[in-house]
């Protein structure tokens, strides 16, 4: 039954229509995975590729992803660009301001392990995963828009596989 792709449903015809039964969990996570609103958080080079992904050719909106300027309205923070030691507390604070459930994508080499600034730099945070928990890492300097989109699709897959009880434990 392909009512909505990959959504486990049971349907039964009744006069004048059908009854559809499915689990709350799958509907909830389906909805979540298809409308990830991301926080407009760009610090360096990757921010330009994030802009390109949001604009005409790559069109992020078709994945249900729209940018928000406020952390309170967003589900996802795409850390696009180098995070320095001075910026790290601000990133943590933005993350804390977001509502649960929240996800983090580390975009580009800098956010994974310092990237080209790993050696000889006194100011760059070597990886953001000891500031905020990261769900998806996207390598590249900067990653192409296609790989950013693939990362986001992986994230939606990950959300669809979640269990409701996972949240409570978090």
């Amino acid at each position: 039954m392909g009512l909505i792709k990959k959504l486990p449903v049971y349907s039964e015809k009744i006069p004048g229509g059908a009854i559809v039964t499915t689990s709350l969990e799958s509907v909830l996570h389906f909805a979540q995975a298809k409308s990830l609103w991301y926080l407009l958080f760009g610090t360096a080079c990757c921010a330009i590729e994030l802009m390109c992904t949001g604009a005409s050719r790559y069109d992020f909106d078709r994945l249900g992803m729209m940018f928000r300027a406020s952390p309170r309205q967003s589900d996802l923070i795409i850390a696009a660009g180098t995070i320095t030691k001075k910026m790290a507390p601000r990133l943590r604070r933005l993350y804390d301001q977001m509502a649960e459930p929240r996800y983090v994508i580390a975009m580009g080499g800098c956010t994974i392990k310092g990237g080209p600034f790993y050696y000889d730099s006194y100011a760059v945070e070597k990886g953001i995963d000891h500031i905020v928990p990261v769900d998806i890492y996207i390598p590249g300097c900067p990653p192409r828009p296609e790989s950013l989109m693939e990362g986001c699709l992986h994230l939606s897959e990950k959300i669809r596989r979640q269990k409701l009880l996972d949240w409570q434990e978090k």
């Binding site: 760009g42 802009m51 005409s56 600034f117 000889d120 100011a123």
Partner: protein, 368 residues
């Protein structure tokens, strides 16, 4: 009986994460209602110690690091560093390489001005120009991608020439791209030039008098929009710009509107230069012989070029080894941000956003 209504100044923290500060700049605003009484920029949220890194790298290894210094026009960072190193070691660059460099620099200038056009309009509340400008920018990204494989950080212009030759389909595709962009610029003008909201928000806002601009070493479009005709492509010539015919547009008023118009004019001039360069592109070598262990003689040099944000300078001090003793970079935005406290006071907070956007500040150039 109503008592006297008392007001109080308050402090607003704009940034470091704020959509209109183009990255991570923090402005501390002292406000009286909607009016900005005092602005104080706080920078350093993207200080990545590029200069320190360059001191421990060989000359060839510095070029990809400096790509990240000004990523919107990374070609010009490559070029400035290569120019300084070539001056130190007195390397003659083949003519074909110089033509390719000029084509890339000007394409990059157009791409950067398109970003400016899109983001400025978006900051002032118009989303359509952003989508239009980034649509046309992709033509240029395609050209860069087929030449050097990267969309943003190119590492293409090397010491002594360029990394590799252009593929055969570059020239026709480049002609096509500049033709399309040339047609689209009047369309952009049609979107905003006569738009009453746009005019109300930009004309007469953030006026920068020419004396102040020179005193604070403003450069590039900001300086020329204040009526000072100073373009390093003409006034401190480098590469082969003396072979091409192009105008240097200036504007009289120095407000946000003039800075916007000037950049669109510059796109048209860049298209003219690229057309001439494609016409005259000679055959020949693309790189002078530069050893992998490049050791320029001891000496020091400051080279500067005109990029889309003004004067981009690189100072190199060499002691004869394969690593520079000091690399100091200078970006236009560093000086432009200093101007914000000068002209950003006594205006509304919405005007401050317009002024900031019109300076086209890019933070890594400030923080390095």
């Amino acid at each position: 009986m109503m008592g006297e209504i008392r007001t109080q100044e308050f402090i607003v923290n704009m940034g470091p994460h704020h959509p209109s500060t183009h990255g991570v700049c923090r402005l501390m605003l002292t406000m009286d209602g909607e009016k900005v009484m005092k602005v104080e920029p706080y920078i350093g949220y993207l200080h990545r110690a590029l200069e320190k890194i360059c001191e421990n790298r060989t000359y060839h290894q510095c070029i990809p690091i400096l790509d990240r210094f000004e990523y919107v026009t990374a070609m010009s960072c490559n070029y400035t560093f290569a120019l300084a190193a070539e001056k130190l070691a007195q390397i003659e660059v083949p003519e074909r390489a110089e033509y390719l460099r000029v084509i890339m620099l000007e394409l990059n200038r157009i791409a950067s001005h398109l970003i400016f056009f899109g983001t400025t309009a978006m900051d002032l509340g118009a989303l359509t120009p952003f989508l239009y400008a980034l649509r046309e920018r992709e033509y240029i990204m395609d050209l860069f991608e087929m030449t050097c494989g990267q969309r943003l950080t190119y590492n293409y212009i090397r010491i002594g020439g360029v990394a590799k030759d252009i593929p055969a389909e570059f020239v026709p595709q480049c002609r096509e791209a500049i033709k399309i962009i040339g047609k689209k610029v009047p369309e952009y003008e049609g979107l905003l030039n006569e738009n009453p909201i746009w005019k109300a928000r930009t004309i007469g806002v953030g006026v920068l008098p020419p004396e102040l601009a020179v005193a604070y070493a403003a450069s590039g479009p900001i300086l020329r929009a204040s009526g000072v005709k100073y373009d390093l492509r003409r006034d401190d010539p480098y590469s082969i710009y003396d072979k091409f015919e192009f105008d240097i547009p200036t504007r009289p008023n120095g407000d946000v509107f003039d800075r916007y118009i000037l950049r669109l004019e510059e796109i048209k001039q860049s298209i003219r230069i690229i057309g001439q360069a494609l016409e005259g592109l000679p055959e020949g070598d693309i790189k002078a012989k530069v050893p992998l262990k490049f050791k320029p003689p001891a000496g020091e040099v400051y080279s500067r070029i005109e990029n889309s944000r003004g004067e981009l300078g690189v100072y190199i001090l060499s002691d004869g080894t394969d690593k520079p003793v000091r690399v100091k970079t200078r970006g236009g935005s560093y000086n432009h941000l200093q101007l914000i406290p000068e002209i950003g006071t006594d205006c509304l907070i919405a005007d401050l956003v317009a002024i900031f956007a019109s300076f086209d500040v890019i933070m890594p150039e400030v923080d390095r």
